[in-house]
Every structure is written in C-alpha cells, then in structure tokens.
Amino acid sequence: MRPHGPSAEGTGAGGPGAGWVDASAADGLAAGSAAAGSPTGGNPTTETSAAGSPTVVSVTDLEIRLAGGPVLLAGAGLALRRGRITALTGPSGAGKSTLLRALIGDLPAGAHVSAGRIEVLGHDVLTLSPERLRHLRRHRVAYVGQDPGSALDPRMRVRRLVAETAVDPSPRTVRNLLAECRLPVGDGLPDRRPGTLSGGQQRRVALARALARRPDVLLLDEPTAGLDTALRDEISDLLRLLATTRDMAVVLACHDPDLVARCADEVVELGKAIRPAPRPAPRPAAVPKARPVRAGAGAEAGTGGDPPGTGLAAHGLEVRFTRRGHPHRALAGVDFAAAPGSATGIVGPSGSGKTTLLRVLAGLRSPDAGTLTLDGRPLPAPARKRGRTMQRRVQLVPQNPLGTLNPARTVGATLARPLRLHRIAAKEDIAGRVAELLDDVGLPADIARRRPHELSGGQRQRVSIARALACAPDVLLCDEVTSALDPGTATAVMELLTGLRAARRLTVVLVSHELHLVAAYTDTVHVLEAGRVTASGPTGHLMPANR
C-alpha cells in the first residue's frame, strides 16, 4: 500500500506543512495538468509527511450549521493521504454527505461553516475564488454523489458523459475507462443513455466519469449502494488498485461494514453525539395503531382482507426493450408468487431485471406478455387501470428516493396526500397519522416541515418507506430500501416490516443486494439472472450457498 511517488521525489524543499501549501497554491493550475499527465511523478508539490505519505486533505474541527438552525456537522476532523482509502462512517444524518460536499466547497443552501477549516491540496476551499474552486473540481478533486442515477445527464450518452470530463477524450481511452469500471463495453453500452442502465451500471458510469479527469482526491458517497456482493468486491478492489497505482486519496462515505473492512485503510466515524441514532418505534406501540386504520380502509373498500387470498402472483412475464434497433429482453418468462404475509427476496446481479420486475408488479411498466393476479383475481398491468383499491393495496418503495419525492412538497404534505387520496384518515387526524408514520420509520416528527433536499439520503429513504406505508398496503414492493441506511437503521426498518407482516399480513417483496438482510428477513428467494429466474425456493435452502 505504499505509494510509489514519494520515494522517487527524494527530499523536497521546505518543511512539511507551510512550504507545501505555498508551492501548491502558487502553481495550482500547472500542478493540475501535470498530475493529469503522470499522476505519480513530476509533481513538484508532493511532500512526504511524517506518516510516510503526503496529506492532501485536512479538515480540523469543522462545524457546519444552518443559519439559526440545526447543526449539520459538528467537530469533524479528517486527514486524507495519497494512496490511502479512508472510510467515513456514522449513522444516517450524521453529516457524511455534508462533509464530502464541503470538501469541494459546496455547502447546503443556507448553511455556513461556523468553526474549523478545510484544506484541500493546499487550498482553503472556503475562501477560494470561484474560478480556482472550479479548477480544483475540474482537475484535481472528483466527487460522486449518492444518487448517480439522477446526477448523470439523462440526455447524454455514456460515451459522451465520460469523455466530457476526461483528460484524454479519445474513444479508446473512454472504452478502457468503462472497462476498468467493470462495465460491459462490447454490447453497445457506451451508446446508451443513463435512463436505460441499471442502478449499478449508473453508479459505475459515474465512477468512470470521476476517474476520467485523473483526480488527486476521489470523494465517493455510498459507492456500492445497490451493487451486488460480487460487484461490490470488484469495485472495492478497483478502488484499492487505483488508490495505489494513481497515488490517489480516496474517501468513501458508507454504511457497509464489509466494504469498510475490505478496502479502507482508515475509518473515521462521524458525530455520534450530534443526533441520537434513530431508533425504531417500539413494536407494541406501532402495531395496534395500524390495525384499526387498515380495518376501516378495508371496510370502505369492500375487500375485507380477511379471507385468505393467494397473494400477488405473476406468470410468464416478458419485458422487451429495443435499444438502437436491437431487441433486448429485460424479463424473459418470469414467474413470481408471494403469499399474503410472506416475505420474498429477489436477488441477482446488477442489470438482471430485478427493478424491472418490481416496476411491472407495481404497474409502472406494462409487460409485453404475461399476467398478474392479486388474490386470484386478475390485476390490470398498468397502474392507472387498477382502480383505487388495487392501487392502494400494491405499493412500491422506489430505489431512488430523491428522484421520486416531490421537491416542492414538505415531507408532511407528501405523507398526507395518500392519506387523503385513499380516505385512510379523517381530515383532523392526518397530522397525527403523519407523525405516527414518521415515528414508525424512526424519524422525529419535526421532519414533516422539511423538504426532501434538506434531508440526508437515509432520511429520504425512510420518508419514501413511510409514504408507501401511508396507504396501508397489502403488498409492499421494496427496491433497495436499505441501500442508504446504516446497519442499525436498516435492521430497524426490516424489523418494522416484519412487525407489519405479522400484524396485518403485509406481503413484502424485497429487492436487495444486502444478502444478509435477505437471508434474515425473507422466507422465499428468487434468484434472477439475465431476465430469468434461475433458482427459487425457501431462503434457508438457497441463501447459505450464496453467502
């Protein structure tokens, strides 16, 4: 793990710290292009620190707060060195994303730094002129956000997305970069647009786009959320390799203890003391609350819900896409069944059609062939033909909460809408019910006044779960609902769903790459590969083999 650079440099002029800062500030522009050409050699500003590799980013006692509002980040300290990977962990809402964005001089709207300083490659990013800051972002520090699906321009092809930031935008280099990020370049992926890629592929395209500029510092927010174990390991090996060969400082904010164990050299845990870690609402309180609501809604809808149905089933689902004239089958004859009160896991590699299957079940995409049934009765494929009761009974928690929560509405308004729409709560009870829903997913009630962009990734994901639960559904389709949650919160959310399953015979369909969650909280598993179910059966039989 020793970087190659410093040994070749020998002793630089001046002492550590001040001398390095001055040199770097003086030739910031030149150093950017020099580093781009040869990342390990020829950088005059590199200085060996006491620990053996140079510190490129240092954050001391950083505190960020909203004007007159809550503290977003308190007393954060961080030191990044070349060639090393630092993991940033901490509970959801601890300020991991805020810290990463602050490193490139971007603070949330209305926020300011109330204490501490940030030094990146010798620049104080908080006082840097806009043009120098832009240069820093363009050539030396790359940031990949939590939600690459919406961060990639939906109208640009992958090829251009990567070439846009690349030092060398030639098609060959771009292909190599994509291949380096384990993307299949042979089947026309470079000519596709982000909307046609799976969540995992989007994430890797965003990574390729970040690497294309050959940065000195790479900031990754949840780099492996939504990726399966095999891909996650490949990505973490890739990061390891890049950190060493390119002598790059990597910092990743993540919840995944396996990833941290696998590739991080150092771990920085953020602000345990800022907010109490969100705890799940006590089960006995949550379950009885849900019961009368469901009964009322059921009586109003006339379906009762008591006669044991057969649950949600699908037969022979086919979904075809045409990609530049070439047909592509996202689902090829998939059969699916989930009994009431059961929990079914869907696992499989990235791009195998898991999300497409959920979207078909939710009625967001009509299959080209195949049928859906709910409790033995046919379920129309498009959601808008399903009628209000059917719509209420099948709910989807989407993969990408930022893209699916209305940015103009407060969380309270978002949650109140399904309550009103399906007449689940009386007008005067709505505020109380919203608070209960938030409590169920472990969020404080005052979140109801905030808007989605003011929340952390994990908080958004929980709001999105609460929105789906607001309709008192019978079937809950969860697409990577725990990808942005820390293990504690993820377990709490899964416990909540398990409690609802027992209390209301809620059917849970869980798409996840977190196999330990699937193993612990589902009873049946379907394994999806390239649009086909290759194995299905009781979790106990299938999962030990996968683990």
Binding site: I104, R137, R138, H139, G145, D147, L152, E164
Partner: protein, 336 residues
C-alpha cells in the same frame, strides 16, 4: 401541399429509423392521425370564423354596394353572391372546394387565390424573419442572464424584457419610425412595392420586423430564463457544476437541452402573436401583406377572403405548434 410533403418526409425518416416495415407503417399511421387531428381543428376554427362574420352587422352585399344603389340592386347582388342561402350551406360549399385549392370568390368578384398570391409570401417573409430574430434574441438574452443568476445583467434583463413584452406593436412601431426614420433618416418610413408585389428593398423590412420582434423577444427571453432556472436545480446540472465544468458548458450542454420543451412551446405560441401583430404593423408601414387584405375584407364582410386568410395563417401556426410538439417529444423521449 405542405402537409403531404411533411407526411412524405416523416414517412421517409421513420423508414430509415425503424428496420421493421410494420413499425414504419405504425409510425406513419400515428403521424397521419396527428395531421388529421390538426386538419379537424382547422376546420372547426373556420366554422367559427364563418359564424362570427355572420354575427357582424351588415353583409358583403351592403358593405360593397355602390353609393345610390337601389334596394333591389343590392338584393340581386346578394343573390348573386349566394348570401341569401343559409351560412352552413355556404360554409359547406367553401370547405368542399378547399382541398382542390379553390378558395372561392371575393365580394368584389375576384378569385381569392389571386388576391392572396402576392401578400401571403410577403407576410410569411415578415413573420419568419421576425420569428428568427425573436428566437435568437430570446435565447441569447435568456442564456446571458442565466450565466449569473441574480446578477446585475440578470436583473436588468428581467426588467427590460418585462417592459418590452408589455409594449403593444404600434407603440414600438411609432418609436422605431421616430428614431430610425424621422430623426436619423436611416430607413424609409413606408414600404414601397416593387412591380411583382414584394417590398422594393430589404431595408423596408427592418422596421416591421423589429416592431414585431421586440415584444415577442421580451416574452420569449423570460421563458428561456425561467426554463433555465428550473433546469439549474436539476440534480444532473448540480452534478455537472460540482464536476467543475465551465459555467458556459454547464449552461449549454446540461441545462439548455432540458429547457428545450418549454422554449419550443413558448416560441410556437409566439407565432400566433406575430401573425396577429402583423395586421397592425403592416397597416402602419404600408407593408404589402395579408394584414392589409384582412382589414379590407373585414370591412367588406367578405367571408371567403377572411376564411382564406385564416386558413393560411392557421395552417402555418398549426405546423409550428406541431414542430414544437416534436421537439418536446424528442427531448422528453430521451428520458427513462
């Protein structure tokens, strides 16, 4: 004729894009359906025009009668013009003749096609030039303001565009006449017509075009600016900014493409305003276009001429709106 050409071009484009002939056929069917809808819309519009003229006091026979013509003479001419028949019969006759290119006969006994042959291209030239000037100015001003949101340029432009869009065409025309013609003498104050019926020199187009374009450019610049402001908050635009791309690149490559649907729709609605404003502006500058023909025809209660003018301008507006819809479909189609 226009529609047929577009249909052919559309079919050709579909054929190259889709390998399967069945898909090409389906696409052509969809295109045909869309064009049929537009045609239906146009005929409803023409029916409204016929009804509206019927409701105006007086008819073509009285409006065009010679001084001292006897009541019997007027009645005879009314019969000759077919005005004693019910309006829906006359509408039916006129509509069934339309596909053959026959626009009927005016109250003064001239072929309507002949009446419009010279003015219509002139108005199209005026309108198209004003449209191009509007679009370029609006895009330039909107993008300029969006480069530094809330900056001095942005605020001044916002105010100036607000004033420009509030100015009626005739006020702008009078201002232009004073400034460019009477005080400085740079441009001719009225349009002289060449023997072929077109304006004698391009300098005569400048002021009418500006008079039409200034209010519309104000309106469209505000739309461009607003659409870009919406896009600036999109996650992928934020991400592009955090990637350190230059403000110009972020604006032109990442924000503007997403703003096209709003811009195209705004510009397309301007077509109607441009052609409507042309009536006033053409009268003021004595420009030989449809405006003069139309105002004369309304005074004469000359239904076939009015309907023909409406049919021509309506077809143009309809085509531009169709183009805007295509831009929208194309841009939004690139999304998941």
């Amino acid at each position: 004729m226009n529609e047929a050409a577009i249909r052919r071009a559309g079919a050709a484009a579909e054929a190259t894009a889709a390998p399967a002939p069945r898909r090409a056929l389906a696409a052509a069917g969809r295109a045909g359906l869309v064009l049929a809808q537009r045609a239906l819309l146009l005929s409803v519009l023409l029916a409204v025009v016929f009804a509206a003229i019927e409701l105006l006091p007086g008819d073509a026979a009285t409006a065009t009668s010679e001084r001292g013509e006897s009541a019997a003479g007027t009645a005879a001419r009314r019969h000759l013009l077919g005005l004693d028949r019910p309006v829906w019969e006359r509408f039916g006759d006129w509509m069934t003749a339309l596909p053959t290119g026959d626009l009927g006969t005016s109250a003064r006994g001239e072929r309507v096609t002949g009446l419009l042959a010279a003015p219509f291209p002139n108005t199209l030239l005026l309108g198209a030039t004003a449209f191009a000037v509007t679009l370029v100015t609006a895009l330039a001003l909107g993008c300029w303001g969006a480069l530094r949101p809330g900056g001095a340029v942005d605020r001044i432009l916002g105010l100036a565009c607000g004033i420009a869009l509030a100015l009626p065409e005739f006020v702008v025309s009078v201002g232009l006449l004073l400034a460019l013609s009477l005080w400085t003498g740079w441009l001719p104050p009225v349009t002289l017509t060449a023997p072929d019926g077109s304006p004698a020199s391009w300098t005569m187009l400048v002021m009418p075009v500006l008079a039409l374009a200034v209010p519309q450019a104000g309106w469209n610049a505000r739309i461009v600016r607003g659409a870009l402001a919406d896009q600036a908050d999109a996650p992928h635009v934020t991400a592009a900014r955090l990637d350190g791309l230059s403000p110009r690149r972020v604006l032109l490559r990442h924000a503007l493409p997403g703003a096209w649907p709003a811009i195209a729709t705004g510009a397309a609605t301007s077509t109607g305003m441009l052609l409507g404003g042309a009536v006033v502006v053409e009268t003021l500058f004595n420009y030989p276009g449809l405006g003069t023909v139309l105002s004369g025809a309304v005074a004469d209660r000359d239904t076939p001429v009015i309907a023909a003018v409406v049919a021509c301008t309506g077809a143009v507006i309809s085509l531009v709106l169709l183009g805007a819809d295509l831009v929208r479909a194309r841009t939004l189609g690139a999304r998941p």
